[in-house]
Symmetry: C2
Subunit: 585 residues, 2 copies
């Protein structure tokens, strides 16, 4: 028996009890005549005490020689602490040790195992197993586990069946790049890892399972960014005999349940916004509505005033940065520099100061009167003390740029509060988006998303205008979930593949099994998938999903702890009927 109790549970109620604890030496203070050890395990910290009077000499000397992160087992008596620590549950007691066993020694860790460590990101990733000993990391993993458990309870109670769909599937040309797995038993052929269980969950609906969910790993071989991992986790759901409203209700219910359970928050109906409105009002299909700063379009007002730059543009639009009239000229110059960074790539920024006295001062005073600027300010809902920031250009581009600026200003003004939650449904997405590079339409959601019946007449004449039965759940400016009502008619599905540039043969080769399944009584169905890593992080007030993944990969897709990927043996490749194109280093 390694322990009678954990390091997080002993209190005054246990005084005089003989106990045994096991854990790590977190800190050791040696005053010569007395030694205190903070013994740490997952559950907390308990103070161990030894002194010259009450402890044997041998034991005392053993204790003094313990190093940080040694694993020890301590037996002793719970006693009341002289100077209590009200910050921890065990702060009223300490253990007067009468034996200490060293279970394992430890080299000096490469960084301190503290809430505020001295270790940088890289070293903590390499020694992730030590990083996990730190409360902030450990608690995030425990939080993730609790959320997963609660999701399952909620969906199970609503008769959803969790079905494990296969990981070794087939590569498809649509969507992101696949990871592939060469097959030993089928020479020259490859499995692919799923980007999502999309087709399988649809087949489960054809199979009559009615309500499916799965918390499941998915894989995308894309270039990585801070918030993207090659393997990530989805809460994947699908329902039969439902309309968009049914699905939104169920998963709004789930989101409310989680916000209530973990944040103690109550919500009425989540607000809804069309994609078109979201783009117009926030320049973004996942607007953060914890704050206003809505876009004001002034194209009609700003053109025709001899200001060439504006006259040439498709859209002129601005926001009112609250109280930012206090910005100095230098501050504004920095903002202009910021929007010109390659990530934003804006050409410029027009500014208008809304002075307290009701006058305006702008970078374009040569072209616009006080009345002109007042009209702008009104469109942007500005008040005295605000600073208008105006951008112009191609509609899609300028909206994206101004949206990035809006988020940046909000960040600076402290408007993105981690303990405030603003959910939002974005609906009525376009079915297709035109891709300039490949010169064809791509599915905005995925090729199985159904068009709105009332827009079906546009599918031949103006496919870009067709709206989809698709919906995203947005939380604090992050898309945490998205889904759609699916096509369940084989002819519409075939037409969709055609729109996406598939020949009939290609569609058959790639998705023949799905279209074949649709011949045998496919029910109306639809679903939704939450990005679980992101949902968990946002729920916990963070936007760094990597922190919520036990063993994340870096931006080159490497696990620096185990040093993967790695070279494999030639014999292994031979067995798989593949060769490497890379000359041996």
């Amino acid at each position: 028996m390694f322990r009678t109790n954990t390091c997080g549970e002993l209190t005054q109620a246990n005084i005089n009890e003989k106990v045994t604890l096991s854990g790590w030496v977190s800190t050791l203070r040696d005053k010569g005549f007395m030694v205190w050890i903070d013994l740490r395990d997952r559950y907390g910290i308990t103070q161990i005490i030894l002194d010259e009077d009450r402890s044997s000499k041998e034991l005392f000397e053993t204790a003094r020689k313990l190093g940080r992160e040694f694993v020890i087992q301590v037996s002793g008596t719970v006693i009341e602490r002289a100077s209590k620590n009200p910050n921890i549950p065990t702060g009223e007691i300490e253990i007067l040790a009468d034996s200490i066993t060293i279970l394992n020694e430890s080299a000096l860790p490469p960084f301190t195992i503290d809430d505020n460590t001295d270790g940088g990101e890289d070293i903590r990733m390499k020694y992730r197993y030590l990083d996990i000993r730190r409360n902030p990391v450990k608690n995030k993993l425990i939080f993730r586990s609790k959320v997963a458990q609660e999701v399952r309870k909620y969906l199970d109670a609503q008769d959803f069946v969790e079905v494990e769909t296969p990981v070794l599937i087939k590569s498809t040309p649509e969507g992101a790049r696949d990871f592939v797995v060469p097959s030993r038993m089928n020479p020259g052929e490859f499995y692919a890892l799923p980007q999502s269980p999309q087709t399988f969950k649809q087949l489960l609906m054809v199979g009559g399972l009615d309500k499916y969910f799965q918390i499941v790993k998915c894989f995308r071989d894309e270039d990585l960014r801070a918030d993207r991992q090659p393997e990530f986790t989805q809460i994947d759901c699908e329902m039969s005999f439902v309309e968009q409203e049914d699905i939104m209700n169920v998963f709004e219910g789930l989101a409310k349940h989680l916000l209530h359970t973990f944040k103690g928050l109550e919500f009425g109906d989540f607000p809804r916004m069309t994609f078109a409105d979201a783009m117009r009002r926030y320049g973004n299909d996942k607007p953060d509505i914890r704050f206003g700063m809505e876009f004001g379009e002034i194209t009609d007002l700003a053109k025709g005033h001899d200001f060439k730059i504006f006259d040439e543009q498709e859209l002129i639009v601005g926001i009112a940065a609250e109280g930012c009239n206090s910005y100095t000229r230098k501050d504004i110059d920095k903002l202009i520099e910021w929007v010109q960074r390659p990530q934003i790539a804006a050409t410029g920024l027009v500014w208008v100061r809304c002075n307290e006295d009701g006058t305006y001062k702008s970078s374009v005073d040569k072209f616009y009167t006080q009345e002109d600027l007042a009209a702008w300010a009104e469109r942007m809902n500005a008040k005295a003390g605000d600073l208008l920031l105006v951008m112009s250009g191609n509609t899609n581009k300028v909206r994206a740029q101004l949206s990035a600026l809006r988020m940046e200003i909000a960040e600076r003004l402290g408007l993105r509060k981690p303990d405030e939650f603003a959910p939002l449904w974005v609906v009525d997405f376009p079915l297709l988006e035109w891709d300039e590079e490949s010169e064809r339409y791509h599915a905005m959601h995925h090729p199985f998303t159904s068009p709105k019946p009332e827009d079906m007449e546009l599918i031949d004449s103006n496919p870009g205008e067709v709206r989809a039965n698709a919906y995203d759940l947005v939380l604090n400016g992050n898309e945490i979930g998205g889904g759609s009502i699916r096509i369940f008619d084989k002819n519409i599905q075939a037409r969709m593949f055609e729109l996406l540039g598939f020949t009939a043969e290609q569609a058959e080769a790639q998705f023949g099994f799905l279209m074949n399944a649709f011949k045998y009584g496919a029910p109306p169905h639809g679903g939704l998938a939450f990005g679980f890593d992101r949902f968990v992080s946002i729920l916990d007030g963070s936007e760094t999903i990597r922190d919520y993944i036990a063993f994340p990969k870096n931006n080159s897709g490497r696990d620096v702890m185990i040093d993967a990927p790695a070279a494999i043996d030639q014999t292994q490749m031979d067995e798989l009927f593949i060769q490497s194109n890379v000359v041996e280093k």
Copy 2:
């Protein structure tokens, strides 16, 4: 709204209610003046009725034209049924339809969607989405989901944290063959898919997580048998500061909880047996103890009687097949043929009839007296009416052969009852097993399993005799779980790798991260993994794990439904820096 109710819930309590149901046309009986439809969804079957008197002509004609597996929406009134069906919950009512909408048509399915279908295994796998509509398949998937949910509840309540470990890891030479994934971002390098999260869960223990579990997909690229799939699911668990007894207690608790929840069974302490005893008594390390038929060794009795075949053998051992004295000579010949099949490859079978009158009649009467045979019978616990079946040969081989025969006889005698459950812990496994082919020791469990401290002195002199802190949970003759207390001392781990034939460099390259982690205060830890697919199937009284997997692969590792694996594009291979050795077909 597609439905007000499901097809499984309406009863007399709902009489006169206006309802709408959606589902599949399971059967349609057309009597000319009246039409009955069995409407099916996941939840059950409800009878729909239309007749010439009460239904409009148009509706009546629509109904008559419905085909099997059409998806329809029916509105109507709940009425009492004339001839009630007590076998289904909805058997007291039917729906008098007043409208029917065809939601989707169906081609004639390639097999009947019935509990007893006319479809063979191959066709059902190709159309797995139709197979899932059948109750026996659907119910197995729902059962699996319920068991997973219950496992999670149980472990969550005991403070286990579910942590998702990575799927893209590193290939290791130990164990089975890995599936590998070429890396696009790290040219010439490969990820491997995990055979189990073994090292990661140990790192989580080093990380202080204390109690970990995960229900997780694992992957082995081995030749497949009926009960083996390239991807399978484990309940993977690990605990810190525990001894073997602690772990066995926790997971015996879990097994009892599941047997209670799903089978209503109560168990006392599970029996335990050493590996050595299991081999001696049952010839097998996963004995089915629902029945006796224990081995009786008669080497000492049977040698030295001028029966050459026996005199040359290492072990002579038999079982008493209860009541099988009734077997004809022809029956026995068939049994001899059975043990000579390539799968068993026994050279022969000596038989002894235990006659009702106390006499014996055997195939070796020339060499043995009645007293000799009586002594054999006693060793095998035989009684009058039994048939002794005796085999001889190399100890390991003959035990395996007789074990197979024992199971076969039990199957024939109906002793392997699916509703009877006999759990058993097998303990004290050898640490290592000698592999003739590679002429080196292999880890019997895995290279991280700790030797028993009391056997440590044998590790240099006689490593084959060292026992491990390893344990298997056996249920009805199937290993459903296995685990061990791990090595947590870096020196012992290094010695273990050495025993397994690794050079220090190889050990460092493959497991350096783990041995490095052990430098920083690794706690004592151990764990266990259940084979979830198998556990679920056995709990449900079946041994066919494939039935409990939504989309299984066939014996060539193919998913015949989606036709994977498949060829991929040359550009895809180029991006991954690989080429195929297979010339294009």
